[in-house]
Symmetry: C2
Subunit: 709 residues, 2 copies
């Protein structure tokens, strides 16, 4: 477990209130450059362990697995070959138990939810198709049986799911309804005469679509449908439905199509399913949250249909958890490739006549890669805490309604940012490697193509952020339903900052807004943790307060006008949710810095955290200026301080990516295999020999200038 | 030709100096909504012609060609199949003369440079691989013979190049040197004894790489190498080098490798070439800008080796020109798909209990797509003017050194922005179409994968922008080499704004900075053309002036320190170049608005231009605040005015993409074929029938609430 208590601050650390105020616009000495013996040094071993996080040993073991060529992607396979290969790889995973950790111990699992996700995430470096196909089988199809079913379902279905005797689809999404699951059209109507449910697709838009395992391999499916019994629709429930016979043919009443080629993840056989009055036994209703008796009577442990629906969906949050981790790993791989290459590749002579510059020494190249490295660090630390939270909920250690709601809000906040960040980082890394980055062998384009869909599956990123914003608004309105606008300024934090993950709702200022304003305007102290916290927290707070104020008239408006008013704030709402998520990441990064004991690591991580935090402020600088939180002078100082931070971090860039711990077997990009340096050494030796031989041709320019001019 | 003279302003147009000042923060009336009969209407016919631009008829004809299935991409082909197909398609293009317009009339061409590029750009909607492979053959390999060779080369080589008897590679880039062409390692040493050049690859890093036609199809290549004669290196020159015999085997001394699979463009056989003392006749030097006599004497019409090099490279600018156009077309296709789908797809009931909202009615969805539409319009207009400029230079109509330099600066400014915009827009469109956007059949992922490399080939985008910035700095320092900082404030425009494209260097304010400051602070007038122009111009001016000031000490520093100082400004330099390029786009858009005569079109285009211009200001709002150009209050008004503009444009969104003029044969995305609407109509009919039948199940919530609660 991560130690979330504050460690005693070492002598060189910043302590709130006691840190001397330093003006970042004043140059406090020469920038530490590569090889400067007076600069901090990184201890790779301990930084590496810190990045591996709570399930470090398990991740190390998983990386031994993903280093095995038989689990790795081969670029350029046809879709059919890739699907076959991935399905075979799934059998390897089933055979070695890598994917069984979350299942009950009495069935051979380990009931280890956090460890299961940690191991699962690591598969992304082998092949994202392998990861997601495994996710469909054990994380969606299997997990639905586990979490929505009860003991008889576990005993009947899970063994064959675990060992892949029964590959299955997770049939939730329909062509007509993706994000709005509650509105799916498929029906499951109970027939008491035969004690069966009749699964039916009433129209084309209700075809299930984009389902992994549906096109070829699926033998069964968990089908989500509107449960209707005794003339009442009880909302969406899940049903276990066999779909193919032993020859691979669809069972009677079931049809489907292959989704065919996709933008990525072509090792997965996504497809469509539809049902024509397909009868299944009553017992095939996964009945943990809703059941139908033989006579058709419906019952549920959760009275409210709305709450029941969200509880059921909430059990499937692990998809979002794991995407957050996998996307962060893909970003780390991309930056390891681009920063390693950038530290070896040379282009243009700038500072001398003979030696070309290493491209990572160009300021623009640093600006392209190092802030993304800082974000990837923030995400790595945030993800580990997120996974701990997930594990606490699913292991039952901390499993109240509030815990579950917090977990879902956290998932809805972090998954969008990390999946978008992965796409952005993979693309920047690709461009930073030039033409070589576009070669499939260097993996960046292929990873990007595969991860593209991470932004919209398991919850569309924009829809998820809107959920977060609604939660923030709810928290806000609970506090201020009747209060005046000035109340916010008097609103003081109820929770200690270091327990922030305990509740993930609306963040609170550690000081009042009024106090904060004057703090920020005092002589610059951007490197002070509390100043960064306040800048980031204040923005979330204020945005939500402003939106809440704008939305206040909605209560008195007819539905259509209220909807129009809400819609007029939608973009701002989503931006507020993003600001909240960024704050969560910053808080995790800060806790990680605070728990770091090695002085060199702590110094470099502090710079990197500052780069992340101040980078967020720089991106939203207009907001801080417009709202009077920063003066123009101070705002300019932020950018120049960021330049300074980047220059300080530059000498540690290679260490910082090495600390992610990927070997050549995980990177598998020839440009970082050492051949770039080898080629340059050969070229430089050639020119040196040529100069020394005295046979080198003179340059026209030199000849024209003559010996003395 | 575009009419670049100012049309008389119609009664409702804004005229500089006479426009009433309107405060945009004041609501001036209800927003026009879809179907509002009092709102403007678009005349699709005339808007469509305007977007097609100067070579409208030629583009229409080219689109008939690209609508032919045999020229279109088939998704999911293997690399080998795709290569074969594209090579066959190239023969179709050669046979119908589509790609011969730029070649000399005496060889069957039309000596039509602008028209050639216009027709070439249209190929992107058929298959980017087809486009780029055609570009390699006729736009690089053929164009190098045309522009760097002389009449004997034309007569000897061009006929077989034009008819594809001799497919060829353009062998410039080496593994070790991409952006820095001057530093390539390949040598061409003249041997007067045999009157031959000896082409040689001295080390591994000097292998030519990423060359289209090199892996399979190339029979010859134009090879760039350091020309060495009589012991002097005269710099990079181009040589015509046969590489394969009639059996397809490499000729003696020549070797190569296949680049294999790439992130996209897999219909092109990119590969590597290397040369071991390969002898070619003296006459194979493409000798327009540098020649070697039989005895080895070197001569050139351009004395300066540096100017000679840039002149030679400058003849190849058409690659950048065409990428700007092709990338803009890809953006237009992406937005046509996403906006059409967004206007048909429904999700979530917000405003009523039964009808789901069209997703383009959500504010966030509008914010994602409509500003990108505005940028695509700006690029479309800017590209047409760019192409006119290109045509004037290459037809000899306006072909001074200054014209050529302006053209290159324009290319270096516009190509980065439009290629990045295409990637960004294709991705946003993909996500805006959800899972359907990820299906290869809907083309967004495949177009994105293909266009990825547009950001780094034909000049890395960051390197190009740095070139632009250096030009801006040169312009600036010529004016202010000895002036004090106050000089800028007294610097008044020398060129009329409507002749902006005549020179593409540093933009000038139409008023002094001092005047401008007070203008911007007066009551809001963001919709006034001159206010937008001044805001955008001022930023470029000031950024360049600030950088120039920061760099001034460099003249007195040793080379390494001067390089470090320059490097400390590199990021800001590139941002200044981007601001300059955005201003160029805005100016083109403004001229297009001004030349529009149809009142409805003019109104909607004005809104769209305002969205583009104010969107640029909003993105850089912090700069305007920090530099005192906008007050906090005015800055906030910009965002709310943008919200208002987007709401006004929304009802015209579908017209605005329809005006791009792509048919289903060009879009080829099933999601915009009408099936989405068909499925929804079927679903709604089903529910309507169910409600009317009286057999619809009651909702649990309703049942529980009871009849009266």
């Amino acid at each position: 477990m991560v130690d979330t208590t504050r460690l005693p601050a070492p002598h060189n650390a910043e302590r709130p209130g006691t840190t001397p105020v330093i003006d970042p616009s004043v140059d406090t000495g020469p920038i530490k450059v590569a090889g400067d013996p007076t600069g901090p040094t990184i201890d790779l071993e301990s930084l590496g362990r810190q990045l591996l996080g709570t399930w470090a040993d398990l991740r190390v073991a998983a990386r031994e697995l993903t280093a095995r060529p038989e689990l790795q992607r081969i670029e350029g396979l046809s879709m059919a070959e890739h699907r076959t290969r991935v399905f075979e790889q799934l059998h390897l995973l089933a055979d070695n138990g890598h994917v069984h950790r979350a299942f009950p111990t009495h069935l051979g699992g380990e009931n280890d939810h956090g460890g299961n996700i940690a191991g699962f995430e690591e598969l992304v470096t082998a092949d994202p198709s392998l990861q997601i196909k495994a996710g469909v089988q054990w994380g969606l199809f299997g997990a639905a049986v586990l979490h929505l079913g009860t003991r008889p379902h576990h005993d009947a279905f899970l063994p064959d799911i675990m060992n892949l005797t029964v590959p299955g689809a997770f049939a939730m999404t329909e062509i007509g309804h993706g994000s709005d699951v509650a509105s799916i059209g498929t029906t499951a109507t109970y027939d008491p005469a035969t004690e069966e449910f009749v699964i039916h697709t009433p129209f084309r838009a209700a075809w299930k679509d984009y389902l992994g395992n549906a096109a070829n391999d699926g033998v069964a499916a968990v089908v989500f449908a509107q449960l209707i019994t005794e003339g009442v629709n009880h909302g969406v429930h899940a049903f276990y439905v066999p779909i193919r016979d032993e020859t691979g043919a669809f069972l009677p009443g079931i049809g489907g199509e292959d989704d065919g080629l996709k933008g990525g993840l072509n090792g997965i056989d996504n497809g469509r399913l539809h049902f024509d009055q397909v009868r299944i036994p009553r017992a095939n209703l996964l009945n943990r949250y809703g059941d139908v008796a033989a006579d058709g009577t419906y019952s549920s442990p959760i009275a409210s249909p709305g709450r029941r629906f969200f509880t059921m969906l909430g059990t499937l949050v692990q998809g979002r958890v794991s995407l957050d981790g996998a996307a962060t790993q893909a970003s780390a791989v991309a930056l390891t490739i681009a920063i390693t290459y950038g530290s070896q590749r040379r282009q243009f002579t700038a500072a001398s006549d003979t030696d070309e510059e290493v491209i990572l020494d160009y300021q623009r190249h640093q600006r392209r890669l190092l802030p993304r490295l800082a974000t990837t660090y923030a995400q790595t630390f945030a993800h580990d805490e997120f996974l701990v939270k997930f594990d606490e909920v699913f292991s039952g250690k901390a499993d109240t309604d509030d815990d579950r709601q917090d977990l879902e809000t956290l998932a809805a906040a972090l998954k969008p940012l990390s999946t978008w960040h992965a796409l952005d980082t993979l693309q920047e890394a690709r461009e930073a490697c030039g033409g070589a980055g576009f070669m499939a062998e260097n993996r960046l384009t292929s990873l990007r193509a595969d991860l593209d869909v991470y932004a919209t599956f398991e919850g569309d990123n924009n829809v998820l952020l809107q959920l977060v914003a609604k939660r923030l608004l709810t928290d806000y309105s609970r506090k201020f339903a009747t209060a005046d606008a000035g109340a916010l300024a008097r609103y003081v934090v109820k929770q200690a900052a270091d327990r922030a993950y305990h509740g993930t709702g609306l963040r609170r200022l550690t000081q009042t807004v009024a106090d904060f304003g004057s703090t920020a305007r005092s002589v610059g102290a951007f490197r002070e943790t509390n100043v960064q916290r306040e800048l980031l927290t204040d923005r979330v707070e204020t945005m939500i307060a402003d939106i809440a104020t704008a939305l206040r008239p909605a209560q008195r408006l007819p539905k259509a006008e209220a909807a129009a008013l809400f819609n007029s704030q939608q973009n701002e709402l989503i931006e507020a949710a993003r600001a909240h998520a960024e704050l969560l990441q910053w808080e995790s990064f800060t806790r990680a810095v605070e728990s770091t004991t090695h002085a060199g690591n702590k110094q470099v991580l502090t710079w990197l955290r500052d780069l992340f935090g101040l980078g967020l402020v720089e991106k939203r600088l207009a907001w801080y200026l417009v709202h009077g939180r920063l003066s123009a002078q101070r705002a300019q100082a932020i950018s120049s301080y960021i330049d300074r931070l980047i220059a300080r971090i530059r000498p540690h860039a290679v260490d910082l990516v090495d600390a992610f711990g990927y070997s050549q077997a995980h990177l598998r990009a020839p440009i970082v295999s050492g051949i770039e340096k080898e080629r340059q050494d050969e070229a430089r030796a050639y020119y040196r020999a040529l100069r020394e031989s005295g046979t080198a041709p003179a340059m026209e320019k030199t000849v024209k200038a003559g010996p003395k001019q």
